[in-house]
Subunit: 227 residues, 2 copies
């Protein structure tokens, strides 16, 4: 019996890729301005800072922390790690959050899930404070019974700990839940591997890969509209 739905947040409930592009553009524009660097110099430092962050923080939530992208970019430039770091960070998130809205039909979907008295849990990579901020911006806190961030779990999806911590909070067994997410490896394969049904939220960066794909998903969610 279906008792609980586990959902990813970024690119599953709203267009995170577009939001991050807006954030990056704002951070590069504002950063080059306050640091008095050419756009190209700061953009190169930003990309190196981001790469360094991914390199040293690997599969932890902090690998997504834009404050580290900026700190490492400043270190690469031989400047103070504190130089305008918090301001650039805020410029990033203000732009990313500005205009952030749910995919069409997503709110109706969440409402319908609650009307069926299913438990609903967010199972999301990234640091908690950032995810709380997005959830407030999107106005969806009221639909969720639980949240698990990779910062809390200490690992990222597809690590089973992410799913199992969410299930525990929702008091649901593996076979009583379904995971919905846009990332085939992390969300879909990760859940399926430990006996949780999974549905792929299509329309993300990932390309539908015919046969290989159908082996490991229980369904494809093309759009929330008209579900």
């Amino acid at each position: 019996m279906l008792k609980a739905i586990l959902m990813d947040l970024d690119d599953t409930l709203y267009d995170a890729s577009a939001a991050y592009r807006r954030g990056e553009e704002a951070a590069i524009r504002f950063g080059s301005d306050v640091l008095e660097l050419s756009r190209q110099e700061w953009e190169e430092a930003w990309l190196r800072g981001k790469a360094r962050t991914k390199e040293i923080l690997k599969v932890s939530a902090a690998q997504h922390h834009r404050l580290f992208y900026i700190q490492h970019a400043l270190e690469y430039l031989g400047r103070s790690p504190f130089e305008h770091a918090e301001e650039i960070y805020e410029a990033y998130w203000n732009a990313a959050l500005d205009g952030m809205c749910l995919f069409d039909g997503a709110e109706e979907f969440l409402r319908a899930v609650k009307a069926k008295e299913l438990k609903l849990g967010l199972c999301t990579d990234m640091t908690a404070a950032t995810q709380y901020r997005k959830i407030r911006r999107l106005g969806i806190a009221k639909y969720f019974d639980a949240i698990v961030t990779s910062e809390e779990a200490g690992v990222e999806k597809p690590d089973r700990k992410m799913f199992e911590l969410t299930l525990a909070k929702l008091e649901a067994a593996h076979n009583e839940a379904v995971m919905i997410g846009d990332n085939l490896r992390k969300d879909v394969e990760g859940a399926k591997k430990i006996g949780i049904r999974a549905i792929w939220k299509a329309g993300s960066k990932e390309v539908y890969d015919g046969e290989a794909f159908t082996c490991y998903t229980d369904g494809v969610l093309q759009s929330y509209c008209g579900l």
Copy 2:
């Protein structure tokens, strides 16, 4: 030759214990108010939330994250993890930061270190955003050449990675540096074990333990005044 000084932040450069007490008092007062709970109910939940955070997050920076104390407290009460969580979190930090100031003589000490052209690095447990916020509040960003947080290192002191990442950023060898901190096990013993000289900042929660103590510190800093 001494080339670099590594410093802890909390309870080494300012009175963190007092700041955290102010934060906790504000979070408990404000929290019981917005959640419509008796002070005792919310205080008990807070302590359980804090214990749960320490239990699952162990030696990672996130074990200090007050947002998790609050989230786990709300989970314990069977309430939404989002219910006023960010507001209570802000109440905590606004109160903790309010009135936060350096120990007497600490700024003169930092200035003297810079005047001697020694490199200065912060080597501190806790999440980066929180430490940046404290550093801004204390007005000491200008003295530091580098920062390493346990969120960045992925481990906490006394793990050698904390010290070695700081040394690398300061371009100093183990025998060219000294670590100053208030925690005997983490700061002093941690540094000494890998061949970095260490000075204990006295006057913290820890008690001076005569003989056992003198074995593993290179000195005691009783006060910054008149150094």
